[in-house]
Symmetry: C2
Subunit: 378 residues, 2 copies
């Protein structure tokens, strides 16, 4: 699972905790709670962990030497600082030059540099091989995607059961159905499938026109409701990602047209993706398609309309990872897992985004766990 | 809410995303999704956010200038890199020296230094004033703590309803009650209270003797079951933290003795805490108490027994923040919010940890949202 191409030249150093540990987990098999130090010198890989993590690290990090700070002779008064764990480890291994990720902690880098270690900051992952998934990784992403689909199904059932009051507000099981309540039901379904989600989006009406708005307050009939579910599997650490847009009752013509344009743009992108195809050309095709349909992207008085995010991003141990389907040049390779998620946004009409997660295969993009793309809910 | 003492001298620079944004949120009132740049120059505070975050940032960041990368004249080809957002902002403001946190991204620091900016890495928070909570912050932590208590109550009800089979394994509502299932029920209750939790611990038997083990597999009667619940409120961003240890049925005498020692040690610590008291002396008192009761801390063949973590840590926008109740010297101040969580661990007996979150007040430690500390569950 470990990409050796680069690690044979300059050793890779990671200082990562629970919040951000995709590279460390990929390289070591260990998912830390508090920050730990991991050195990948190709043949020899070493983890420095606090006493509290020692037992679990030895069990989970296969083929990795696991040591305690005391084992690598850190001066007692410095033993509390993770910078000095890293420095002592490099000294023991006789390493004076390391590669680190762009989110490597500045505090640790300062200590290393002050002590003569040359630190090279990489732009992307320390394991560029992470972009191309092995079969077992695709299976793990599929697991998370199945959980996401299950939660999306639950959301659609709730919207189907909901009824609109005279004021258009939806009610479900006797009380108002707001974004918060629907999100809770979605997140509960994810928990039951072994996943957790932090930022599930349930955004209706004008909120749906802001792609980063999580959504709050009552949901209404006739408006677009964007539901974006991206769970992480608790056991595997891999993410899934799916978005659907629904409308309870009949959408206004402008909104229905917007939905049709996004649906067609997504299909266009899905049809283009295959090994050897340029990702940036897929993105450009989506942009062009929207432009041709009259959905130019504009900024006026601080309000953005149109399509103003990437067409997709890689999914794996990070929810956003390489490759992206955007203006950045990239040639698709078999085994890459990406989202395909064009969207259109206009505060006066609403927002529509349709997203699937696909694996790039010889024959094209294969959707991981399909779910219908029907806009209206009766 | 913003601590001005230091920011008036050297401006503080933050590049933070959703995973780690306590300082940025504290200083700006804005909780980002993707990484953004925040500069706190005392009188003048500025956020640089991507187009996607613009609307929300302007709404949430009160008294802060919110700009897009385009607004600060970043060369087009560099506009995609957040390092150049930070650099362009510093140039516009004429700032050549900044303070950053120890987890500031190394990649951004390299670009700043290469362009003549002097970067000072701070050890703790850029807002040391975060340690002393305002009344509204105590209220927000209390909200999260109430959710945690509600989830703990739910866990105790489930353990009370559970029955032990002939093999000692617990069953509930017709099937095996394992750590995973009980954790899911706890996390669902937290969701219903507006919180999310990523790493709820439900660890029984020998697993309970490893304080970082999340717990897996069947729970059994007669064993200690450590339940550590630390939710974050979705809206406020503040954490809560509580731990209880239960035993379904009658514990063996060695385990019952261990529970009594931890309960007494926690009370000892709670009784000592008040403004002016040294936190490290509270920790030492807990260590001494355990030693006197015959619970020395030992390491043998890689197995650790006794008490080998801090007595407590600050709680706020981070789950672990200043001050800590450990060997580190600190004098308590009124308004600090800390956990008090001594524990004893022995793989041959089990593990016991009892934790409350308290606010330091003139009259002593006030527990935020109390919950009984009864070990046995009939």
């Amino acid at each position: 699972m470990v990409d050796k191409t680069k690690s044979l030249t300059v050793p890779a150093l990671m200082v990562e905790g629970a919040d951000q540990c995709a590279d460390l987990f990929y390289g070591s098999g260990f998912m830390p709670v508090d920050p730990v130090v991991f050195l990948d010198a190709g043949q020899h890989r070493t983890l420095v962990v606090p006493m509290l993590e020692f037992g679990r690290a030895r069990e989970e990090a296969k083929g990795v030497e696991v040591v305690l700070p005391d084992d690598i002779k850190i001066p007692k008064k410095r033993g509390r600082s993770i910078s000095h764990w890293a420095l002592a480890l490099l000294r023991r291994e006789g390493i004076r030059r390391v590669r680190v990720g762009s989110f490597f902690p500045a505090g640790v880098m300062k200590v290393l540099e002050r002590n003569g270690v040359k630190v090279v900051v990489e732009k992307g992952s320390l394991y560029p091989g992470r972009a191309v998934k092995h079969a077992d990784e695709v299976e793990k992403i599929s697991d998370s995607q199945r959980a996401a689909v299950s939660a999306m199904r639950r959301a659609r059932v709730i919207l189907a059961e909901a009824v609109a009051g005279a004021d258009g507000r939806l009610r479900w099981q006797g009380s108002v159905l707001d974004s918060e309540r629907l999100r809770t039901e979605i997140d509960i379904e994810l928990l039951r499938k072994g996943c957790h989600a932090r930022d599930t989006i349930v955004a209706g009406g004008a909120q749906a026109a802001d792609p980063h708005e999580r959504g709050h307050g009552p949901l209404r009939a006739g408006e677009s409701i964007v539901i974006d579910i991206f769970p992480r599997h608790k056991r595997s650490g891999y993410w899934g990602d799916i978005t659907r847009t629904f409308c309870k009752g009949k959408p206004l013509p402008a909104l229905a047209r917007m939905y049709k344009a996004v649906l067609e743009a997504q299909q266009l992108a899905l049809d283009m993706i295959k090994p050897g195809m340029r990702a940036d050309k897929v993105h450009q095709a989506v942009c062009d398609y929207f432009d041709e349909r009259g959905y130019e992207t504009t900024v006026k008085d601080g309000v953005v309309r149109g399509f103003f995010h990437g067409t997709g991003h890689g999914v794996g141990l990070d929810i956003h990872e390489a490759p992206s389907i955007s203006r950045i040049e990239h040639v698709f390779r078999a085994g890459e897992v990406v989202t395909v998620e064009p969207g259109l946004y206009d505060p006066d009409i609403g927002g529509v985004r349709i997203e699937d997660t696909v694996v790039v295969e010889k024959s094209g993009a294969r959707i991981l766990s399909a779910f219908p793309k029907k806009f209206g809910i009766g």
